[in-house]
C-alpha cells in the first residue's frame, strides 16, 4: 500500500474536545496527558509545526494584543455563543474573545471554583459584589460568577451591589443572617470593590460564621491604586472574622477560559497562584521564552486546554515572579494597557444608591 503524500493529519479540534472535557472532569489528571493534549491542540490551531518534538521551543503563542486586532477563532465567528471583551477604555479598542461553546467555559469555571474555593466546609450562601451577566453581557467575570452561583448557591445571592454602588447596610444584614443561621458565607468581589467595602464598613465589624471565605480577583491592575494584600487580609479578619487562609485570590483574563487561584487551604506553602490542572502557566524569560528559575521574574505564558476553540497558548503583558509550581507578584508591563476585572470596581459605598459614571464598557 502506498503511503499518502504529506504528513499524517493529527486529530482535529472536534476530536480533541471530548478528551479535554474528560481531562477537566478527572479528579487527578495525568500531567503527561496534559502535554499530549496541549501539543495536539496547538498543532490543530496552527500554533506549532506538526511533528516538531520540541514543546515550547516551536510554539508560536498568541499575544494578548492579537485579540484586539483580529478574530482569534478556530471556528466561524458567526457561531460564537458569547463575546467577552477586555477593557478598551484607553485605546477604544477592546480585546474580543469569541466563545464557541459556553458549556466548556461553565465546566472549566465550576470545576476550578469547586476545587480551589469551595473546600469543606462548603458555603451555600453567596454574596456577590460582581455585577450579573445580564448587566455586563461581555464580561467573562460576570458570566463566571453567574455559573458559580447557578451551580452552588442554595438561594439567590443577596444583592449588595446596585449599579456602581455597594450597599453596606445590605451587606451587614447578609452577614447577620449568616450568623443567625450559622451557615458559612462566600463573598465574591473584585479586589478594588473589596477595598471599597472595607473602607465603607469603618470600624463596625460583622463576624461571619466559621467556614466563611472571601474570593477576590483583579488586583489593582486597572486602577493604579496600591493594593497591600496582607493588609487587606488583616482587615477582612478583623471585620469579618475570615482567616487570611480563607481569603482566596483568583487570576483570570478575558482571553482565558480557565483560572488560577491563590488558595492556601488547597495549595499549602508560600502564597502563590496555581492554575487549575487543565491550564499550565509558565513564567518565561522574554527573550528565550523558556521557563525561568523559581524566584525569578518573567512574562506569563498560559497553556489553557479550555481555549480549545481560540488559542491554547497565550502570551500576556503580565510580569510575575515564579514561586515553585506557581507564580506571584503579578503586575502589568509598563507600556501594556491597564486591564483586568478591577475596571468593574464600584466607586463608592452608600446606603442609598445613586448613579455614577461607569468605569468599563
Amino acid at each position: 500500500m502506498t503511503p499518502p503524500d504529506g504528513p499524517i493529519p493529527g486529530p482535529t479540534l472536534a476530536d480533541l474536545e471530548p478528551r479535554v472535557r474528560a481531562f477537566i472532569e478527572a479528579d487527578s489528571p495525568d500531567p503527561r496527558v496534559f502535554r499530549d493534549l496541549w501539543l495536539a491542540i496547538a498543532t490543530a490551531q496552527g500554533l506549532r509545526s506538526p511533528g516538531d518534538r520540541r514543546a515550547l521551543g516551536s510554539l508560536r503563542p498568541v499575544p494578548e494584543e492579537a485579540f484586539k486586532t483580529r478574530e482569534v477563532a478556530c471556528f466561524d465567528p458567526a457561531e460564537a455563543q458569547a463575546e467577552f471583551r477586555s477593557s478598551g477604555t484607553t485605546t477604544g479598542q477592546p480585546g474580543r474573545h469569541l466563545v464557541r461553546d459556553l458549556s466548556l467555559y461553565r465546566l472549566s469555571v465550576v470545576t476550578g471554583f469547586r476545587r480551589f474555593v469551595l473546600y469543606e466546609p462548603r458555603p451555600r450562601v453567596f454574596v456577590r459584589l460582581i455585577p450579573e451577566g445580564t448587566v455586563r453581557p461581555h464580561s467573562s467575570l460576570s458570566r463566571m460568577i453567574d455559573f458559580v452561583v447557578a451551580a452552588f448557591a442554595e438561594e439567590p445571592p443577596i444583592p449588595v451591589r446596585q449599579g456602581n454602588h455597594l450597599d453596606v447596610e445590605a451587606f451587614r444584614s447578609a452577614c447577620a443572617r449568616a450568623r443567625e443561621s450559622r451557615r458559612p458565607l462566600c463573598l465574591m468581589a473584585t479586589t478594588l470593590d473589596l477595598l471599597t467595602l472595607v473602607a465603607g464598613m469603618g470600624e463596625r465589624d460583622e463576624p461571619l460564621p466559621p467556614g466563611s471565605r472571601v474570593m477576590h480577583t483583579g488586583g489593582a491592575k486597572a486602577s493604579g491604586r496600591a493594593v497591600d494584600r496582607s493588609a487587606l487580609r488583616r482587615d477582612l479578619e478583623r471585620l469579618l472574622a475570615v482567616s487570611p487562609d480563607d481569603v482566596v485570590e483568583e487570576y483570570g483574563m478575558t482571553e482565558l477560559m480557565s483560572q488560577a487561584y491563590d488558595s492556601p487551604r488547597v495549595v499549602p506553602g508560600p502564597r502563590r497562584f496555581q492554575p487549575v490542572p487543565w491550564m499550565q502557566t509558565r513564567v518565561v524569560d522574554p527573550v528565550s521564552l523558556r521557563p525561568v528559575a523559581t524566584g525569578r521574574q518573567g512574562l506569563l505564558l498560559h497553556l489553557d486546554l479550555a481555549n480549545l476553540h481560540t488559542a491554547v497558548a497565550i502570551l500576556t503583558g503580565d510580569l510575575a515572579r515564579r514561586v515553585g509550581d506557581g507564580f506571584g507578584e503579578v503586575r502589568r508591563l509598563p507600556g501594556a494597557l491597564p486591564r483586568g476585572c478591577s475596571h468593574e470596581a464600584a466607586t463608592r459605598t452608600s446606603r442609598v444608591t445613586t448613579p455614577t459614571p461607569e468605569g468599563r464598557p
Binding site: 492579537a66 522574554p286 527573550v287 518573567g298 503583558g317 510580569l319 509598563p334
Partner: protein
Amino acid sequence: MRPVPPAALDDASLAESLARLARAGEDLRWLTPKDRSSLERSTGLLGPHLEEALRRAFAPYTPGACRRLVRKARSPATPDHDRVLLAILAGPIPALATGVIFPALAARFAVRIRPSAREPRFARLILSLVSRVTPELAPSLGLVPLRSGDPRLDREVRDAPVVLAYGTDETLRSLAALRRDRPLLGGGHRESLVVLDGPSLASPATRRRLARAVARDVCVYDQGGCLSPTLLVLGPGAQGDCLLADLREALSRQTLRWPVRPPSLEVRGWLRLQVEALKDRTTGPGGSCWSPPGALTPTLAVLPTGVPPLRPSPGHRVLQVIRTGDPADLPRLVPDLADHLQGIAITGDPERWWRRLPESFRAPYRCRPGRLQAPPAGWPENGRPLHLALAQIGNPVTDTPARGAAVTPARRRR
C-alpha cells in the same frame, strides 16, 4: 547668572568659534573615561555606538556650515533681552543638544538648556567643553536643572522670550498652554521612513549598499530619534526578497557594531509582546518576521499586502516593511503619521513619489538612505531650520512656518 547673547562677536569670529567648538567636540578626546562611562549609562549607547553618536552630534558644524548658519541667521535688531532661548530637551541623543546650541548661537541667541530627564549628562559636559575651548561663548549658555512639574520650570517656560521644546505631543500641548501666544518652537512625536523603488534594487552590489545604509539609519541611537526610520516602504517594482536577506545581514552586523545597554526586564517583556504581535500580523501570504536566534531585536517584519503596520512603532531596532505601489496608500496604512513625519530617505526619482504623497506626509527632511541620521547643519527640523526660525522671532511679517511645523505665531512684545 543668566546667559547673554553673543552680541560682541562679529560674524566671522562667531562662525570661527562655533567651528572650533565643533572640531573639539568631534575629536572625542575632551571626554574623560569617567565622562564616557556616565554617558554610556545615561544614553544607553555603548562604546563605539556612543562614539558614533558623539561624532554625529558635532560633525555637521564644519567651518563652512558655521559661516552659512551665521550669515543666514542675521535678523532684524531684536533687543538682547529678547534673544534668550529656553530649550527643553528630551531623549538620549547628543545631537539634539548640539542641534539647538549651534544654530541658536549662530542666530545670536543665548541658550538656557533644560536637559533631558532621561539623559542629563551631555548638556553639562558640553557646557564645560565650551568653557574650555570657546570661553567667548560660555556666557551665552546656561543650564536650567529643573524637573518636569516643578513650578519654577513652569514659570521659566511662561516667562522665557522664546521656548524650544521636544517631547511627546502631550508635553507640547501642556507647554503651549503655558506659553499662550508667545513663541514656542518645536514638535511633538515624529518618525521617519525609507522608500526604496524597484530600479534601485536591481544590482546586487547596490542592494547590499542600500541594505547597509538602511541598517545604519535604523541602528544608530537604537531607533530613539525622530529621524529613525521605523518603516521601510517598498515602492513600485521593488521585489524585496533579495533585499530582505541583505537587510537581515546588515541589521545583524550593525547591531554588533553599535551595541546598546541590555534592556530591563520590563522593556524585554514589552518587546517580546511587540515581536509576537508582529509575528501574528505577518502570518498572511508574503509576510514574515525575522529576529536573530536567541535575540529579540533587530527584527525585520514584512507585512502582507494591505496589512497595516504595528503602531505605535516598537522602536529598539524593529523595522517593518510594507509593499505598496502607490504612495497614496500611506495615509490608509499609517494614518497616525500624518503631520508626524520628520524625514524620508528615498531612492530613485523622489519627485515622482513626492507628487503623489499627500501634503501631510511630505516630511520636512528628504535625503538618500544612510543620510537620515546625519542631517546637515541647518536642516528643517519640524518644518523650519532653527536658526532661521529664531532669526524671524520678533518679525511677524516673515514668520510663516512651513506646514507641519509646530510653531506658534511670534508676537512683537512692545
